[in-house]
C-alpha cells in the first residue's frame, strides 16, 4: 500500500527519515519545477536551482507544517517566496530563452508553434497575472488555494486569472480557428 503524504511527513518529523522526504520530493518535484519554470520564464537551470532551494527550505521548516493546507500548496507557497527573493536579488528578470523553447518543442507535434506562442504570450503577462494563471489554469489549484499561496485576497486572484486569460486570448487570437 502506498503511503500518503501525511504518513511520509510523520516519518520525516518524528524520525528525521530522509528517505521519506525523498519520496515526497519525488512526488512533488515535477509540479514545483514546472511552476518555477513558468515563473522564471523557461530558464530551466535557474528554475531547478530554485526548486532545490524550495525543497531544502521545506525540509528545514517541516515541523512548522501543521496540515492546515495541502502539502503541495505549502510547497507552492515556499516556491513562490523563493522565486520572489531571487527576483528581488536580480536587477532584471530573465527573458524567455527562445533557443531553449525551440529546442524543447517536439518536432513531431503539429502544434509546436501554438505551444511556443502560448509560452511566449504567458511570459509577456505581468507577474501577478502570470502566476495566477499558471497556478490555477496549469497547476489546477483552486482560487482559494492560489490566494493562500500568493498571500493575496481571493477576489484579486480571480481578477488576475480573468485578466490574464483575456490577454492570452488576445495574443493568441490568430489560433482561434486552429483545430
Amino acid at each position: 500500500m502506498e503511503l500518503t503524504d501525511a504518513d511520509l511527513l510523520a516519518r520525516v518529523v518524528l524520525d528525521g527519515d530522509q528517505h521519506a522526504f525523498g519520496e515526497l520530493v519525488r512526488r512533488h518535484q515535477s509540479a514545483v519545477r514546472g511552476l518555477l519554470r513558468q515563473l522564471v520564464r523557461a530558464d530551466v537551470e535557474l528554475a531547478d536551482d530554485l526548486s532545490q532551494e524550495t525543497f531544502i527550505r521545506a525540509y528545514k521548516h517541516i515541523r512548522s507544517f501543521r496540515g492546515e493546507a495541502k502539502f503541495s500548496t505549502w510547497l507552492y507557497r515556499i516556491a513562490y517566496n523563493v522565486f520572489r527573493e531571487n527576483a528581488r536579488k536580480r536587477t532584471e528578470l530573465v527573458g524567455i530563452d527562445e533557443e531553449h523553447l525551440a529546442g524543447e518543442a517536439d518536432p513531431q507535434t503539429v502544434d509546436a508553434g501554438l505551444r511556443h506562442d502560448l509560452m511566449s504570450a504567458l511570459a509577456q503577462l505581468p507577474l501577478p497575472e502570470r502566476t495566477a494563471v499558471v497556478l490555477c489554469c496549469q497547476n489546477g489549484l483552486s482560487h482559494d488555494e492560489a490566494s493562500r499561496v500568493l498571500e493575496i485576497p481571493l477576489g484579486t486572484v480571480k481578477t488576475n486569472v480573468l485578466r490574464g486569460r483575456e490577454k492570452l486570448k488576445k495574443m493568441l487570437a490568430a489560433w482561434s480557428n486552429w483545430r
Binding site: 517566496n81 502544434d111 505551444r115
Partner: protein, 112 residues
C-alpha cells in the same frame, strides 16, 4: 457555447502540465539536506544558550563575584512599597506581552 479559444487554452494548459522527469533531481536535493530537519535550529539554540551561560559567568566574576546583585537587593529594600508594586506590575505586563507575542508567533500560519 464555450469560446473555442478558451477551450484551446484549457487544452494547451492541460498538456503543459506534463510530468517532468526526475533525472537525479531528488538525489541532488537529498545530498544537500542537513542531518535532521531541526539540526540547524538546535545548533543555533545551543550557541545562544552557551553564549548566555558564558556571559553570566563573566559578568559574575567581573562584578566582584555578584557584588552588584547584593547592592541592587539592598537598594530595592529601601524603595517605597508603591515603587515596588509599580515596578512589579510594569515588569509583569512587559513579560506577559512578550509571552503572548511569542505564543501567537508560534501559532500563525506556517506557510513560510
Amino acid at each position: 457555447m464555450n469560446d473555442p479559444l478558451d477551450e484551446l487554452l484549457d487544452a494547451r494548459f492541460r498538456e503543459e502540465t506534463r510530468y517532468i522527469d526526475d533525472a537525479g533531481f531528488t538525489n541532488r536535493v537529498l545530498q544537500q539536506l542537513p542531518d535532521s530537519p531541526s539540526a540547524v535550529r538546535n545548533h543555533r539554540s545551543l550557541v545562544i544558550f552557551l553564549s548566555a551561560v558564558v556571559s553570566v559567568i563573566v559578568a559574575y566574576f567581573a562584578s566582584g563575584e555578584g557584588f552588584f546583585v547584593r547592592e541592587t537587593l539592598l537598594r530595592a529594600g529601601t524603595l517605597s512599597p508603591l515603587t515596588v508594586i509599580v515596578t512589579a506590575a510594569v515588569t509583569g505586563l512587559v513579560m506577559t506581552t512578550f509571552a503572548l507575542w511569542a505564543a501567537l508567533d508560534r501559532t500563525r500560519d506556517p506557510l513560510l
